[in-house]
Structure formats: structure tokens, C-alpha cells
């Protein structure tokens, strides 16, 4: 990955404006987050959103950003897969002694993306500043759950991209799913019935930010915690298996680009 990172940094530095704008985007995105934070501060920290106080929501914001950071690191390369498959450009990755996943991730692993998790850490620290009584063990456990949930999101989105070996135009579906995923920034524990089921098991958004924030703020019972962690682990196992299987079958179905 370091080889890719170095190469991408050098490519980024080929044009000064490009380099400046990529980091400018990072700065703009970060400012946007902190503006949101300031906006939160205008409310009384003890006001509520559903059953959540704005103090507690700060954890959801932090985990939402963590999800976003890991998505930017891992899944962005996969967003190009539908185009690479149609044009036969996946050949450029397949002629290298790397797994296609590593090739796709590495290809678009731009150094500015490494800074996104740092911003997530800053937001998490701010959340801890306004929530000083958090149990450190629960905090650590919550962070681990959030990382596992982010992996699930990445594998879920990557798997949908892999369908482009069979279906043309998958990028539109992936974009739509991405839009649905923005719902992770809201507390989803209020959802009941079919909505809850869909956002937990079909499009697993519930685990991304709401669940780890629930753990840290001790809003759930031990049984609910076990149930949630078990479901998350099960979903991860299923999606990893699906992901590997889709890669193998997808590559079997790959047609490359004629004589190009």
C-alpha cells in the first residue's frame, strides 16, 4: 500500500492546483463538520432529539465521521469498478501480483484521505469533552464496534460494485445506496417494525453510528448489547463470504475489452 500511496502522492503533486484543491476539499469538509458542531452548541446541550440529548448525539456525529473516513479510505476505489469493467481497464490491475481488492483500493489511495481519520479523532475528543463521564472500557468497545460496522458498510458497498461484472450501470445503484447511508447520521433507535428490520439487516445502517453511541452512553441493556454485537458479527461474516464469492465469480465473468 505504501508503494501506491507514494505513487499517488507524486501524481497529485504533478499539478500544483490539483494538489491544493484536494487538500482544500479536506479542509472545506472539516470546516463543514465543525460548523455543524458550533450549530449544536447553539442549542442547550440538554435539549433532546427524540430520546437523545445533544450531548449524546455528539457521539453519533463522531462515529458518522469515522464511517465516512473509512469509506473514503477503502471504498472510493471501488466506485470506479463499474467503469473499469465496462472498458476492460481492470486488466491494468489484474496484470499485477496483487489481489484485485488491494489494487482497486491502492489505485485511488490518495494521501489526503489518510487525514480524514485524524479529523474523526478530533471530533471524538470533542464529544468526550462535553461528555466527561464516559466509561473508558465502554468507549473502547464502542470504537471497536464502530470500526467493525464501518468495515461492514465498506464490504456491503464494495459487493454492490462487484455486481457490475453482470449488470451495466451499477454506479447509479451504488450512488443511491450511498444516499440512503447518509441516514446513519441520525439516531435510528426510534425506528420500529419493518423500517428497523430493513435498516438493521437489509441495508445495515443502524450499526454504523447509533449502535456504538448507544453502547458508550449506556442506553442499552446487556442482552441488547449481546444481540447487537452478535448480529453485527454475523452480518460481517455473511458479507465477507459474499464479497469473496462475488469477486471470484465476477472475475470468471469478466470479459476484458476485446483486443484493446
Amino acid at each position: 500500500m505504501m508503494s501506491y500511496l507514494r505513487l499517488n502522492l507524486r501524481e497529485l503533486m504533478a499539478f500544483r492546483l490539483n494538489f491544493t484543491m484536494v487538500f482544500g476539499q479536506l479542509i472545506a469538509g472539516t470546516i463543514q463538520f465543525f460548523l455543524f458542531w458550533l450549530l449544536l452548541g447553539n442549542f442547550s446541550l440538554d435539549s433532546t432529539f427524540g430520546s437523545w440529548s445533544f450531548r449524546e448525539i455528539s457521539f453519533i456525529v463522531a462515529f458518522y465521521h469515522l464511517n465516512f473516513s473509512l469509506f473514503m479510505l477503502l471504498s472510493v476505489g471501488f466506485l470506479f469498478l463499474p467503469i473499469l469493467v465496462i472498458r476492460g481497464d481492470l486488466d491494468d490491475i489484474l496484470i499485477l501480483p496483487v489481489s484485485p481488492t488491494k489494487g482497486l483500493v491502492g489505485r485511488s489511495l490518495s494521501p489526503d484521505r489518510l487525514l480524514y481519520p485524524l479529523v474523526s479523532v478530533v471530533i471524538l475528543v470533542l464529544a468526550l469533552v462535553i461528555n466527561p463521564l464516559v466509561d473508558p472500557l465502554l468507549l473502547l468497545f464502542g470504537i471497536l464496534v464502530a470500526i467493525a460496522a464501518s468495515l461492514l458498510e465498506n464490504i456491503f458497498m464494495m459487493s454492490f460494485n462487484l455486481l457490475s461484472f453482470w449488470i451495466g450501470g451499477m454506479q447509479a445503484v451504488v450512488q443511491a445506496l450511498n444516499n440512503v447511508y447518509t441516514a446513519k447520521q441520525f439516531p435510528l433507535d426510534g425506528l420500529r417494525g419493518a423500517g428497523r428490520f430493513i435498516l438493521t439487516f437489509i441495508i445495515p445502517i443502524f450499526f454504523m453510528a447509533t449502535f456504538p453511541a448507544e453502547i458508550i452512553t449506556q442506553r442499552i441493556t446487556f442482552e441488547t448489547l449481546l444481540w447487537g454485537v452478535g448480529s453485527l458479527a454475523g452480518l460481517l461474516a455473511i458479507w465477507i463470504w459474499l464479497f469473496r464469492s462475488l469477486w471470484f465469480r465476477g472475475l470468471r465473468n469478466y470479459q476484458s475489452g476485446g483486443s484493446l
Binding site: 507514494r6 507524486r10 501524481e11 486488466d91 489484474l94 499485477l96 501480483p97 470468471r252 483486443s259 484493446l260
Partner: protein, 322 residues
């Protein structure tokens, strides 16, 4: 055995109609690209994979490199299944597609080489040694400090080939490596590739539809047509198989002291055919040119001789029309 390509078939799924009809009712069809294609490569050296456009050359190379998987048949390259063991195999082979480039267009070529060093995990000293040798051989020492977008097509292709050789592969796959190059650049590239292969005792498969290009550089030939193997062997085998004769056009000033029938029957012993048209003799032959020449000078007053050496292309065109 370096390569075993046994009874391999591959077809592509294509959409029959486009436009509104295709949108409303998409109909797909499978088009065969290779039909039970079989061949082997036993020894190092250069094997030419020849065929017309759409014959299945690129498909064969992509199957050999694990980019595509076969519908049926077995493929083994250096003892490995290319599709299932692609990652391991890629460490041992070098691949160049004439229409593609692995080099990043906007940064100096040497940065892309450095990236490849990391990907192939080549030790620094070994990489430096290989780079110096290859840059000198291909004459690109000055070029690697420039980005590919500032290079000519010929220069870029050389840099692409060096990129495929940096990790010292045991087997090279080159798919139309000289496509788009002018005759001088093609000639240079050909010579450099042959020199590299001979100096390093590696094996290579080069595909091209340009027979004249491969004629003098390959030890063996695989001729593919419509996805099937038409011929496999050395140039001599092709000449023998396709009854490929060279032609001598001899202008004479009439017979010498020897009777003409005696001279002609003497020639017919060594030539494939002898046709007399006025003062001109048309002699087709495979070998024994020295004896034919002696008989000519003994039996005729020779005014002029023209030799027409038939190329592989001639042989294959003859083969096609049979």
C-alpha cells in the same frame, strides 16, 4: 513444459441490438473466440502468435495471464493455473499490451518504476541493477526522468516494455507490442526484444497480425484463425507444410553449348518447378540454391537473375486460399 494450453474454448457474451430495440428488449448472444485451441511451449525463445484481426490472439494471451478464465479446457503456465494462481504467476511473468500502458502519464517514468519495485517486492540493489541494464539496452536512460505524456509513442512503448521486465520475469507476454509504431521504431523494438530474450534466456510469446514483423524474430510460430490453431512449428516447418517456394526469375540469352532439354531436366532435379517463357525461366525452389545456380550458369547464358523470397504472409495467404 513452460506452457500447456489444452483444448481451450472461450466465448464472449455480446448484445445483439443497441438503440431503442436493444433497450426495450435486450437480447444477448455468445460469440466464440477460441474453439478447442491447443498448443504447448516447451523451451525458452520467442514464439509468435499470429492471426488476423479477431482470430483470438488477445483472448489467448489474456487467458494465459489469468485475466480471463476459460469456458473449458486446461491452461498451465510455468506449472500454474493462471486464473486461480494469478497473483503468484504475475511475479514470474511480464506483460505488455500494445494498446495500454501501466505508467502514470503525468509523473516521471522512474516514479512508476519505483512503484513497480514495491509491488513486485524487488530488493533495492537488484532493482537498480536491472534498471541500469534495461535503460542502457533500450536506450531510455534520459527518458525516464520525463512523464510518459511528453514522450513519443515509440519511446513510451520502450518504457512500457522495460516496466514489464524490471522484476526479471521468466516468461514474457507481448500483445501487439509494436502497434502504431513506424517501421524504424518497429525494427528497433524487434531487435531489442530479441537481444533481451537471448541474453537472459527467457521465453516470450508475441502476438501480432503483422507477419513480416514476427518472421525474423521468432523461433516458433502459432498461427491462429477463427479461434482454432491453423499451424504450429518453426519457419522451416511452415515452408515445408505450406509448400512455400522461393522464386528465381532468370533472363537468358539462349542456351549454351549444352542441349536445353538436358539443362532443364538437370534443374528439375533440384527445383520444385521450372517454367520456360521465352527467354525467361521461372524456377521455384526450397533449397539447393547453390546447385541450381551452378546448373544455370553451366546450361544457360545468364543475363539477369531476380530472387523473390516468399514471406510467411505469402505462405499464409496461400494456405488460406487452399
Amino acid at each position: 513444459m513452460l506452457i500447456n494450453f489444452s483444448k481451450v474454448s472461450k466465448s464472449y457474451k455480446i448484445r445483439l441490438q443497441n438503440g431503442l430495440k436493444g433497450f426495450l428488449n435486450p437480447v444477448f448472444h455468445r460469440v466464440p473466440a477460441l474453439n478447442d485451441l491447443s498448443f504447448t511451449v516447451e523451451n525458452p525463445g520467442i514464439t509468435g502468435l499470429i492471426g488476423e484481426n479477431g482470430a483470438g490472439k488477445s483472448t489467448a494471451i489474456k487467458l494465459l495471464t489469468g485475466i480471463l478464465s476459460p469456458d473449458s479446457g486446461e491452461i498451465s503456465v510455468l506449472g500454474m493455473d493462471p486464473f486461480r494462481q494469478r497473483k503468484q504467476l504475475m511475479n514470474l511473468v511480464g506483460i505488455v499490451f500494445g494498446q495500454r500502458s501501466i505508467l502514470r502519464p503525468t509523473i516521471p517514468v522512474r516514479y512508476s518504476y519505483e512503484w513497480l519495485r514495491g509491488i513486485y517486492r524487488v530488493p533495492k540493489e537488484e532493482h537498480q541493477k536491472n534498471l541500469e541494464y534495461l535503460c542502457e539496452l533500450f536506450g531510455i536512460t534520459e527518458l525516464i526522468a520525463r512523464p510518459p505524456r511528453e514522450l513519443s509513442l515509440g519511446q513510451r512503448r520502450k518504457c512500457d516494455i522495460v516496466a514489464a521486465l524490471l522484476h526479471s520475469p521468466k516468461f514474457l507476454f507481448l500483445d501487439e507490442p509494436s502497434i502504431g509504431l513506424d517501421f524504424r521504431a518497429k525494427h528497433t523494438l524487434r531487435e531489442l526484444l530479441v537481444r533481451y530474450v537471448r541474453e537472459n534466456n527467457v521465453a516470450a510469446i508475441i502476438s501480432s497480425h503483422d507477419l513480416n514483423e514476427l518472421e525474423n524474430m521468432c523461433d516458433n510460430f502459432l498461427i491462429v484463425s477463427h479461434g482454432s490453431l491453423q499451424f504450429s512449428g518453426t519457419r522451416e516447418d511452415i515452408e515445408h507444410e505450406m509448400d512455400l517456394n522461393n522464386l528465381l526469375y532468370v533472363e537468358t540469352e539462349g542456351p549454351s553449348d549444352v542441349p536445353i532439354e538436358e539443362s532443364l531436366s538437370g534443374l528439375r532435379q533440384f527445383a520444385t518447378s521450372v517454367v520456360q517463357e521465352g527467354d525467361t525461366l521461372k524456377i521455384a525452389f526450397n533449397d539447393s540454391v547453390d546447385r541450381i545456380m551452378k546448373l544455370l550458369y553451366d546450361g544457360f547464358k545468364v543475363r539477369d537473375i531476380k530472387v523473390q523470397r516468399k514471406s510467411l504472409e505469402d505462405a499464409l495467404v496461400v494456405g488460406d486460399t487452399r
